[in-house]
């Protein structure tokens, strides 16, 4: 199959599933890439927890923070579906910074992330990215804003209304009346920007080796494995990633490391036009397309 044909089929497959996909797969050693709309900037939802982890681990490594220091976190008491961990806790908990990092990345815990953002505010995280030479990811607000969308204001049997709004109200240039979906106001980035970040984490870069190693380890522990993981993990391949989900946005960025040593960074960002909260078919299709791009790239390498 030619590359043109592959991309056309991929676009069609995504459209049939009601998705607009922005994907980029990069061979981390040759630098070869294959992608679809890889430079479109979208709100990134929980993907922002990767830059947050990089900035926090960097501060621990530099001695500005003590990873063992306990932070008392107020209970989130969230009852709507989605949020995990401390966000759902009903009582205060004291957790060490190292463990907040684990909760923030492995189970995408908003409570843990916001405790970390309280130590290293969004502007400082953005500054760290700049220092490491990673461009294209905007960090503008902590994550608690992600759990205050129209979806939280509708009754459970009316959640599809929030999704109709999310899917239909995009304005020109990725603007949106819902702040969390407005690429100009939310934490945002493109598939390419996240592949750059993964590349810098998995191969030698301006990110200190110890920091990169710890973030790789955290991403390897990701527990949310329903999206891309089923198509990328096996006994012969290790999948490390972070997901991001918000209203009609379904993202995942990660690295697959094959037993033969080849490694590929995969960034799959998507927005759905289907007004439904739960869409396993869309997740499966996103993974399928990402896998097909990966397979085409790996086949070319031989």
């Amino acid at each position: 199959m030619t590359v043109g044909r592959l991309l056309r089929t991929a676009r069609e497959t995504l459209r049939d599933a009601g998705l607009r996909g922005c994907l980029l797969v990069r061979d981390l050693d040759s630098g070869d890439e294959l992608g679809l709309d890889a430079d479109v900037v979208l709100p990134v939802a929980s993907l922002v927890k990767v830059p947050l982890a990089v900035a926090t681990v960097d501060r621990i490594e530099r001695g500005e923070l003590d990873g063992a220091a306990g932070i008392t976190v107020a209970p989130g008491r969230v009852r709507t579906p989605g949020p995990t961990g401390l966000s759902r806790f009903r009582h205060p908990a004291t957790v060490a910074i190292d463990d907040l990092l684990y909760l923030s990345v492995a189970i995408s815990d908003e409570g843990a992330s916001d405790a970390l953002f309280a130590l290293t505010p969004p502007s400082a995280v953005a500054g760290t990215l700049r220092r490491f030479g990673i461009d294209g990811i905007s960090v503008r607000h902590p994550t608690r804003d992600l759990t205050d969308t129209p979806a939280e204001r509708f009754a459970p049997d009316e959640v599809h209304l929030a999704h109709s709004l999310a899917a239909a109200a995009t304005t020109a240039g990725q603007g949106h009346p819902v702040a969390q979906l407005d690429a100009g106001r939310a934490n945002s980035g493109s598939a390419r920007a996240f592949v750059e970040l993964l590349h810098a984490l998995w191969r030698p870069s301006r990110i200190p080796t110890a920091v990169a190693g710890r973030v790789r380890e955290l991403m390897g522990d990701n527990l949310l494995r329903q999206r891309l993981a089923p198509d990328f993990s096996s006994d012969a391949a290790r999948w490390s990633s972070k997901t991001g989900t918000l209203l009609n946005l379904r993202h995942e960025v990660g690295v697959v490391e094959h037993a033969d040593g080849q490694a590929y960074a995969v960034a799959a960002l998507s927005e759905s036009t289907v007004p439904a909260a739960v869409q396993p078919q869309a997740e499966a299709v996103l993974a399928q397309v990402a896998r097909e791009l990966h397979d085409a790239l790996r086949a070319a390498r031989g």
Partner: protein, 293 residues
């Protein structure tokens, strides 16, 4: 007194100069002709004829009246002719494209029995609304939500093979995770049902049970939809009558009761009432309203 009938008798007798001949030309018995002329004479207050034993001649008063009487007779004939033509002028009615030709023909026959010369125009919902708006038709059967409808047609799913179940659920079309590249089964909505009160609840259910957006879609025509159902495993949203016509197996849809509703849109209330009243049963047959309902 029937002035027109009396004038007709007067003109006929006066023209032929005889009660016998005049009555026979006017196709009435002579006694009736005499009675009518006598009544007219009383009405006008003067004798029209001089009657002798041998012949009948117009009086001067009768001669003066003959021209007026002739005008009345001519006018009455012209009016009857116009009435007949007006009765035969076609009543244009826009009907759904999904109606079977046989049932439409029976509707036209039934209408003629009620002195209504129907001329049917088949079209999809938007086309019928357009015809009605541009006054190209006198009335149209338009799609309305069931609670406003004069006729209701329950819809279900029909496929090429017997599904072996009493009811088809939309979620049974969901592709299992392990089934990757197989073509997803689809439900085709025919253009007749591309209206919000039928289409939107179905697409909402599609999204809620996790089907792909393409799995419930509007077909170009009911023929295309039926072809996909007959050739493959797709299903068509249709009435039991349509399924029968297309040779498909019909089943109700689980969890949703889509209903086509129809109402008459007409310029004159009287036209709408005729279609709903004396022709109501024939219209119901065309639309595929189940017999029991």
């Amino acid at each position: 007194m029937d002035l027109v009938a009396a004038c007709r008798a007067f003109v006929s007798v006066g023209t032929h100069g005889s009660f016998t001949v005049g009555a026979s030309v006017a196709r009435i018995p002579q006694s009736v002709a005499s009675r009518r002329v006598a009544a007219l004479e009383r009405h006008l207050g003067g004798r029209l004829f001089d009657r002798t034993s041998r012949s009948v001649t117009l009086t001067p008063f009768g001669r003066d009246m003959l021209a007026s009487a002739r005008r009345i007779v001519d006018l009455a004939e012209a009016m009857e002719h116009d009435a007949e033509r007006a009765r035969l002028r076609p009543f244009r009615l826009a009907v759904p494209a999904v109606c079977a030709p046989r049932s439409l023909a029976r509707l036209v026959v039934e209408a003629r029995r009620h002195d209504l010369n129907l001329e049917l125009r088949r079209g999809e919902p938007a086309e019928r609304a357009r015809l009605r708006q541009s006054l190209e038709v006198r009335a149209a059967l338009v799609c309305v939500p069931p609670d406003e409808a004069a006729w209701r047609v329950p819809l279900g799913l029909a496929g090429g093979t017997d599904p072996d179940v009493d009811m088809l659920r939309l979620e049974s079309l969901r592709a299992p995770r392990a089934d990757r590249r197989a073509r997803r089964r689809r439900v085709w909505i025919s253009p007749e049902d591309d209206v919000p009160h039928v289409r939107d609840p179905l697409t909402r259910l599609r999204d809620a049970v996790g089907l792909q957006p393409t799995q419930v879609a509007v077909a170009v025509s009911v023929v295309d939809a039926a072809a996909d159902a007959l050739a493959g495993t797709d299903l068509v949203l249709c009435s039991p009558a349509e399924a029968h016509e297309l040779g498909l197996h019909w089943r109700p849809l689980g969890g949703l009761r889509p209903v086509r509703g129809y109402q008459v849109s007409a310029g004159a209330r009287e036209d709408a009432e005729r279609l709903r009243g004396e022709l109501g049963a024939a219209v119901a047959r065309c639309l595929g309203v189940p017999e029991a309902a």
